[in-house]
């Protein structure tokens, strides 16, 4: 045991009335909601990067946190791994996620970097023998090192593409070996800083090729987890090709990959793309693309990615509505892609962030389950579209009527459709009944 979290006891569910800031008030992992344990719905995960590797820097200031593992190479990486699993145990959380560079220092060569990653990977494997925490997903960081400044798969330099391939192969295999449930690609530099030096068509082809390589290798090694793309519209790049769910879907279809890949949807990324979180979930779900979630929130007044912990139960209720309606996230889960603020210096702050986030998710889940169980909401939705079940309408939708036939019918019968109330306020009140 390290002494990083000294004097902090394991976090337990104590119910809504608890005043203990280090207890769950709503997240009760074994409680049955909509026929399943709460934990099995949410499948929450700690993000290794924000929680253990982040330093509290921002564009106008450097490191604010003080962690005993900083600047200590592999020795530090091992200490960090010890603290990480202690943290998972304290939170009693079933999953974590990582990038290669979060867990081990980069070496002088790809080979050395990859060896470092595998060495820590072995430590993880040993720890997972005694910890109950599992790997939700792994990913390779293809954006921090200066070699990736102009993209990884989409770099004008094919050597960078190749280097990235070498990094992904390593993390994909490690993810597989650690029993990871998914593998994620987030393309923070797959985009452009200026169109003036960019061939968007060429770069799309490169990105598609890279994705094919990854999918083929996953199959080859027997990795059955889901391959996930994480959309984000911008930041760090001015424009990122995986702008939002709809854009990713178009890209995947173009290259014949829409059956192979799903989306990992992040709250803050949806917001930056001009969407609500529930919008991205609804669209993804309707396209069969809703695979996993990066749970966080964006500051509503900031134009960049703030990666704060979720704190709006109403927003999460709408999210869980779409998730429950599609029968859950499958191999996916809720990764807390969230970091404590750079002024939150204390080890306990890491716990407060996750506890608050889990409680908000639990409230959202319970509200969505109650909304669905109540049934009125879904019934009203079905009623609104009921006309399309009628014979003539159904024929029209199936393509059994020409434009001319339809037009003639309207003119001949003098069809004059009368608008009906959309009942938005009624529906908002109905949802609020459960939040």
């Amino acid at each position: 045991m390290t002494d990083f979290f000294k004097n902090i006891s394991p976090v337990k569910y104590e119910g809504p009335e608890s005043r203990n800031p280090l207890a769950y008030r709503h997240y009760n992992k074994d409680e049955i909601v909509a026929g399943k344990r709460m934990e099995d719905h949410i499948r929450p995960a700690v993000a290794y990067w924000h929680t253990f590797a982040a330093e509290g820097g921002d564009p106008f200031g450097g490191r604010t946190f003080e962690r005993p593992w900083y600047d200590k190479g592999m020795e530090g990486a091992k200490l960090k791994a010890d603290v990480a699993f202690e943290f998972f145990d304290l939170l009693d959380i079933p999953f974590f996620c990582f990038h290669d560079v979060d867990i081990a220092p980069e070496g002088k060569t790809l080979a050395e970097s990859n060896r470092n990653v595998r060495e820590i990977g072995e430590i993880f494997a040993r720890k997972m023998e005694t910890s109950r925490t599992r790997l939700l997903w792994g990913t390779a960081n293809l954006f921090s090192n200066r070699r990736y400044m102009a993209g990884a798969a989409t770099n004008p330099d094919p050597e960078v593409f190749a280097y990235a391939a070498g990094q992904v192969k390593n993390v994909l295999e490690l993810t597989h070996e650690l029993g990871g449930a998914n593998y994620v690609l987030w393309g923070g530099r797959e985009g452009y800083e200026t169109l003036l030096n960019t061939k968007v068509g060429q770069e799309a082809d490169q990105m598609a090729r890279f994705l094919h390589l990854v999918i083929d290798h996953a199959k080859k090694i027997g990795f059955n987890g889901t391959i996930l793309i994480e959309p984000k519209p911008q930041e760090p790049s001015k424009h990122q090709y995986d702008y939002d769910v709809a854009t990713v879907y178009g890209f995947l279809q173009r290259y014949g990959l829409e059956k192979e890949v799903k989306c990992n949807i992040e709250v803050g990324h949806a917001f930056l793309a001009g969407h609500s979180f529930e919008h991205e979930l609804a669209i993804a779900s309707s396209l069969g693309m809703l695979g996993s979630v990066d749970a966080n929130r964006n500051d509503l007044q900031s134009g960049w990615d703030t990666d704060q912990f979720p704190n709006n139960p109403g927003e999460m209720a709408l999210a869980f509505y779409y998730i429950l309606k599609q029968g859950g996230l499958g191999s996916g889960g809720f990764n807390f892609d969230a970091k404590v603020r750079r002024q939150s210096l204390d080890p306990a702050d890491l716990l407060y962030g996750h506890i608050g986030g889990l409680d908000v998710l639990a409230r959202g889940l319970k509200a969505a389950a109650a909304l669905i169980e109540d049934g009125e909401f879904d019934r009203l939705l079905d009623e609104r579209y009921a006309g399309w079940q009628q014979k003539g309408a159904s024929a029209m939708l199936k393509g059994e009527r020409t434009l001319e036939e339809i037009a003639q019918w309207v003119e001949a019968e003098n069809i004059n459709p009368q608008p009906r109330s959309g009942r938005q306020e009624y529906l908002e009140n109905l949802v609020n009944r459960f939040v």
Copy 2:
């Protein structure tokens, strides 16, 4: 002749030094640029709605303009048509565009509305015998009437879908008869106000069916023009399904329509979607989807569609770069989807708006042509990606290498790619040399 533009003489090119506010200073229709008449590059069009039908209202105030054709039914519509063609002649502009409801008042039934539209259409046909102005595109207004408040093709009520079909059939046929070069669909209400009452999957199917009906009918009647979708992210709807070019592309592919339809890209819509105008053009062009342009600008500080006339030659230069690189817009053109401000009450203001806009387009066109002719810009772009022409890189891109092979090569050869300057400032200065 009406007396609406009394005392205003035809607008002519007088060169950059002219102080005549009713002369072109840069737009010189017959000047040859990059091998073609300026007019044949730009193919500019007046928008009937903003120029003749708009009233100067905004969400906090009513009509400010006073036009002799307001509130006068078919008689007013005829006067409006007279003034419109006088305006086209004054500007010496080769094209115009219209919605059905811009040109004729709605009747009590679809049949009556359609008859009104055709009656004015016949007047147009006669006027086009003596005017040189042609129809760039026609479109049906499926968003202003309250029957469309919850969408046209995507309405929960199939009768509304049918009514819309009847309207489109009429305008598509009129467009064809008038020799229109394109037909446009803009789905301002094809989206949602709240997800709470919306089935996005069902509505996507409806929208696709509607588009199929239109395409089939166009073929049936022998209309060879381009069918264009005009993306917009929102407004009036909270979310619109044709969010941006990438989203439209994904939608078209999903329903097998990506070969049948192109995009009509509007400057202000690109901006509202979080993109630059040149981004949308570059993406569309790379997808073979760049069909036509709605030229305007958005106020940079306003969060809604301001539809102002273009006034940034640098922005238009980048636009024309992509257009020239793809060999022009084909049947498309530059429709001024722009309106004079609601305080611009005078008939002459309508001319100032179009003159200023045309001059800005002309400056952009000439700058882009010079940039391309100079050649350095394109050469630098090719150089940046030259590595991908090499044999190994090319093989990698074609899929002739596996992830494993690539990774092994990087590790074995200790590949360590060195970043090169992206030269953004150099390129910006280079472009500015021509603007």
Copy 3:
């Protein structure tokens, strides 16, 4: 009794478990919270314009609502007044607010318009003898008529300034006679569409003069209510001079008016100005300027004023925190500056909007009261700044130390301040305990 709300019974508090959509579930007017009746904290008001005068139009479509009083001149205005008071009674709401043009049609001259307004004002007075609903505030609409297109007080034409003065005098006097608790000025056109035709210094002087005139007249007629300015950054104007609370404060000081006027703060306007609602309340309260509230919400993805009913109890809890800490709103209240969506066609929708809004306000109020009563939140805040109570620090803040003395002390004593956790996540969880 009109039959507009036929079959709808008065709305009553039925508690959180009620499934009656026409009952309050949280708003219980006589419940004592923090020592006062809930109604006396909130002082809720119906906005005449959104509820009775709005027509469901938007920039891309016309009227969607059908109300029997539309287009009926003074007769319609009287019917509208009847329905309004029936609505107030149904909701059992203590206040309403109006503009002159909401309640009566404009005449051909100012005199006629003013007479129309006074005629309806007399009807209001009679109704208020039997209804318990009172006037929270009145205001003059100085933005809808085309004469105000370039501003009212800030118009380049002094006659427009004068006309506006004539309108305000009438409404201010009527507000006084009806026992109105406040008078509001919102300057939707007091700003500019383009700087190119605007003298901002001249217009600021005009605006200040206008405000002086109003304040002087209020004193002269014995009106003791609060004069309120309502900040908004833009829309309809590109820029509005009353951008936000801080801007209004600077303007008032400049013209010696900061003691005479307070702010009426609208949720959606705060958001459009780049602020959170609680920010504007906190700033206004710290400046002694927090007078009243326009309760609504803005769509988080729309760049214009959506004026939706509030539905986030957490946001309202933070609002009530600042209100309770300053001892309440005094003569102010919560005006629902919110409209049902243009698809919400039914009379019942007007009730759903207000019921949902009131329940959200009630939840916010109760949460804020509990947070304050708990005390930990305020104690932590005081602790954070406790250092400034110490003698040396206090002297420094009072100006009893020079820069030189302070610098010498730091260097001599080698002062090296150590950062302490800002505890944001802890505080967010603490607040969430009460929401």
Copy 4:
């Protein structure tokens, strides 16, 4: 001579036709524009931080630049100073600006840090004996070190306030000794991350006290330069107290400082605050607060501060219009608060950025001077407000009429003001004639 800029010759004016990327095409320092040398209008400055201290990092990636002075303590600082003055000479630029931490490494104590700064300051003084480059302004960095994470002047810990005072005293004195023309305060952390842990009233008092201390010390040491506050709405903080010009003005008045301080207005900060650059200049100028400019631009699609070099001559023309109309910037100038992109790795890129920026400023200046000389623009503006010069209107504006008198006049005379065209498109075209 270092060899950092090896093979690069001094940059000279070669005229618009030059194809030399290392020449000025529009910036011709000795050319007389509006009666003054171009250089004396613009007074351009290089920013030490972006040009020499920045490393190319962003929130998702580390250092991309490789400079021989990185990580080398005082030795590196001296090399950096050598390169800086070589750069100033190459550009032939009359001014530079710096923060203390840009020029010298921080020590273990304030005393040591300050000594380091003064040691480099002495080197600057010696270099300025042979270089013609002068100091436009100095400033202290009160935001990067973790001690300032919760603010400097507004920190809850008075020791941080004191430490900041010690830093400012040192830089203010050095600025004075180096003959600096101004002293700037930018409060990147003077604001809050969350209102939940913030007393905005207390922090405002602290900020005002700090400013008083600085002003008093400036007077004491005989510094006659202008004290400038640089507004920014947010970033790094969620909210910054110096939000925009209007907010700063209100703050200064509140604490009796509006005569002592002016604004340094940054293009990108104006944009982030929801304003155009010209808006901030117009407002500041109308308040007598326009002191200096931070020339750059913000990416129009990015929600954070991108600090790119200016490249829109039209925007700069509007800026110079307000500057020329107020008779110039006085002691202020145009500091390039702009950095080359993180992919712009080469030393030459630093030159391209500044050359392009200066050429854009020169084009803007010349356009504004021509617009003013032409006279029509100003004449139209005066005409628009001419009514206020008339006797009755003037009396009304001076406060010689009561609300009652004005209202009676309107009613009695049946005043019915008729709107006149705002002529926005005409004016835009007129401005474009000169850009």
